[in-house]
Amino acid sequence: MIETRAVGKTYYTPTGSFNALHSVDINVGAGEIFGIIGRSGAGKSTLLRTLNLLERPTSGRILIEGSDVTDLDGEPLRRLRQGIGIIFQHFNLLKSKTVHENVRLPLRVSGRLDRAAQDRRVAELLELVGLSRNAQKYPSQLSGGERQRVGIARALANGPRILLCDEATSALDPETTQSILELLLEINQRLKLTIVLITHGMDVIRAVADRVVILDHGKVVESGSVVEVFLNPRDAVTRALLAQSGIESGTVTTNGPDGGPVIRLTYHGATSEQPLLSTLSRDAGVDFTILEASVGHLKTVSYGRFTLRLQPRDSERLPKLLQLSDALGVRHEILR
């Protein structure tokens, strides 16, 4: 659906040049929610903005639905942009226009519908985002969450197949963030919309994304399905980002007074349905202390992760335990 091939972006300033993106390859499938995450200054916003050519890459190609759009200009570029919705961190609504007029603006721009049809379409969109009652209000009369809903309705006006979200929830409180994310999930499913979102918060990714890339200093340092990346992070940057979200705790104290072996068990999906810990304890005949634990959901997939310390006397039963966990579909790491 969306593909970048070795996309690079260099900014030239009077004092030198700055590489915002370094040969970035991403490949977003139709209908998926694709997350781009990184610390501030990692280049994620630049990358997102190359997708509708708000930023033109200095090298590499951008492919949208199979066709190379990198060099589009003028009318073809405007047509392309009409088919790609975007929402912003600060909403970027027109203060001088009502909610209805804000949402109607892209319809006036594309000029495909007559006035009556435009008004019907706006009503339909406001219904979708739950703002029908606020059609005649001005943005200043709305809360942040409501303003972002207007932003979403506006982005969807011309029936795009792609929606770009530029830190769309970063200016919102946690509760409002949750409701906006739910709305994004809903439109992703109902409208079969492909969504690319950037954020610096892992919580947003874990709530809605299917796949994710981690960007650092303009380079992709890690990518894969959210479950894969969250439960098996390989890069230090990923681990640092995960630590904020409480999944990865960074370092666990593995040195204890009665130092038995320390292992970490990770599982997800159907495995989570089973009574794992008690089965392992009973069948391997071991006792253990839970040093750290995290269970929860990544979008719709449940997962669990435990760091356990075995009693010293059970050390020789470790191989048995690992064998059992393999049989149950649990991944293990020996930390000590």
């Binding site: 708000l54 570029l77 405007r78 970027n92 027109l94 603006l105 721009v109 001005y138 506006r154 006006a157």
Partner: protein, 235 residues
Amino acid sequence: MTVSAVLDSIRSFEYWPEIGEGTVDTLTMTVVSLAFTVLIGLPVGVALFLTGPSQRSERLVTARLQGWAYKAVSFLVNVLRSLPFLILLILLIPTTRWLVGTSLGVAGSIPPLVVAAAPFFARLVENLLREVDRGVFEACRAMGATTRQTVLWALLPETLPGLLAAITVTAIALIGYSAMSGVIGGGGLGDLAVRYGYQRFNVPVMITTVAILIVLVQLVQALGDRLVARLSHQR
């Protein structure tokens, strides 16, 4: 002196017809030149903004052309703004004659008034547009709007209260300038003040014209403020 005596002396003031005529002339000059000022200054202001530093194209050649266009227009605007109005008035006499057939009276004052005020107004418009949230511009680009659509449907509506304030400021400047055109026979209240106040030492006429000018400026400002407030109200 009693109140009725004051009223009587006002009633018997022999210059009322002339003052009335002068007021009408001043208003005519202000309104007509204001209309032309906005008609010319607004597009020039938009052009300055669109070729200005914040809107440079990503294409090098286009950006160069924009840069030259901006510098040329900006230079012209600055030249016109740096000339004192009185000098501009004299300098423009041949042009004015060619344009409206005379350099005297109400008609003769309008071209120099417009030439003086339009560059000033254009700068105000440029500054207003620069202050529009960049995000709005970006949202328009992202929805595939043309420059024309962006200016007409988004940028100008966003700056409307500011535009009205700028028109008010310009109108008041024009009232002031129009009084000055009295020096070279431009008509209006300024003309009266010069002829009676300066050349014949007629203090009552002088004071009356000054009072009327003050009232006019206050009225224009109050009207402008009210319109701006009404427009900003709902936002």
